[in-house]
Point group: C2
Chain length 256, copies 2
DNA sequence: GTATCGAAAG
DNA sequence: CTTTCGATAC
């Protein structure tokens, strides 16, 4: 079973690339982020034509997440549903083939200590609370998303430059660690302890050609799924060519 | 010798279509209108790659005209050069293979009697004056352009609807007639006296699928070129498909 | 650099 | 409907 995550940076602007990628990569499940469109504007027809069901939590202009799957996702939950007044469409979960799948788009955080940064840390706390409330660590859970946090020094292209910058501050890395402490493992790092691969490269300054990126798109697994994990990688090819997203898809393979 | 005219409605938005059309239609000369970009933003490289020189008179956002040719255009004149203070880039002329070629983008005129309408009539008068000043009726001159005037009832899809509307008012048709009175012949009508073909269809209201258009893109010839005129047609195919211009190219063939 | 938006123009 | 712009966000 192949599960992937991809921040498409506008599902309408990237519709053809999305369909092409689905057809060639053939994931069983794809977590999408930054749809940048409402449910009404989501390209359901093109996705269905490619062989996928879609559970969508859209929003105009900003955010928007979805779970695409070859079998129909059930028990869809849109938003963290914790009573907090929050209009951002950053979270969706659904059950696919007996696995609880999450597609998450963590806040970027803008500048350190800005309201957006505070919101980011709080959002991570709320997501941990979601897990504590709804799940046990031995549930079958896969959380894919753009987490907007590089977990470790190896996950940024230049530690000296990134130190103290949003996406890599100690408080953000700690927030991610608190989330993972629920019982989640980073699939890529689990299989490749010493490999430096990135999933996002700024559009500007030729960052992709220079391979100056960061790894902020992750797939997290609960413990019972770890023995089934056989592969995890970044599809760097998808960042190439005309009008790519600034993120590359990340995928994993579960045996059985 | 094949000479064409095409209002591309943004040369940057239409760059790939332009290159494809040049490669398949292989005109010796192409008059372009509504470049909607400055000279600095004109895609000289792509045009050169397709085998064409380009004489450009660009303008930001609006208007902009060019003459593309397989041999280098010489003696380029940008604007009507009549001392009138006019920032609109609507006129360029150059010599190609011994023929004086004009690419013109006539004002639209907006509403009847609006300042834009007055400007349109005046622009036609100035263009006639340009010819009187610079040319004799037996010079070899081809004027291609978006003239924003349908000359005759046959040139609009519904005379009753168009009567009195801009593009078809008597005063506009008279202004065009005054211009032609210099000694110009409408190549398409010359060869096809009774054929109704359109060159522009509004993007809205499914006007193209319904073939509700008007013929406002014309190629005018001076008398000495008439005996050489062997063909003239509208390339309706170019209006089809994804992201077309709202105008189709019009082309003619001169023998020898 | 690449999206979004709404306004203005055709 | 399609394009432009300038503003905003990442």
């Amino acid at each position: 079973m192949r599960i992937a995550t991809w921040n498409v940076n506008s599902v309408r602007a990237r519709q053809q690339r999305l369909v092409n990628w689905l057809k060639s990569a053939q994931p069983d499940v794809l977590c999408l982020q930054e749809l940048k469109c409402t449910d009404a504007d989501f390209p359901f027809d093109a996705v269905k034509e490619a062989g996928y069901f879609a559970a969508v939590h859209g929003q105009k202009t900003y955010n928007g997440v979805a779970i695409l799957a070859k079998t129909e996702p059930t028990d869809v939950i849109r938003g963290l549903s914790d009573g907090v007044d929050d209009t951002h469409a950053r979270f969706i979960s659904a059950t696919v083939n007996g696995i609880r799948v999450v597609s998450a788009y963590a806040p970027n955080g803008q500048q350190v200590d800005s309201p957006a940064y505070v919101y980011k840390l709080e959002w991570y706390r709320r997501l941990r609370n979601y897990l504590d409330t709804r799940h046990k660590p031995d549930d079958l859970v896969v959380m894919g998303g753009d987490w907007n946090i590089a977990p470790e020094p190896i996950d940024v292209y230049d530690v000296a430059q990134w130190e103290g910058q949003t996406l890599f501050t100690l408080r953000e890395r700690d927030a991610l660690q608190q989330l993972r402490a629920f019982g989640l493992t980073d699939a890529f790092r689990q299989l490749h302890p010493d490999v430096q691969k990135f999933s996002w490269w700024d559009y500007r300054m030729l960052m992709f050609p220079k391979n100056k990126g960061v790894r902020i798109d992750h797939l997290f697994l609960t413990a019972p799924l770890l023995p089934r994990l056989t592969a995890c990688d970044v599809d760097r090819e998808e960042r190439k060519g005309q009008q790519p997203s600034d993120h590359a898809p990340v995928w994993l393979e579960l045996k059985d």
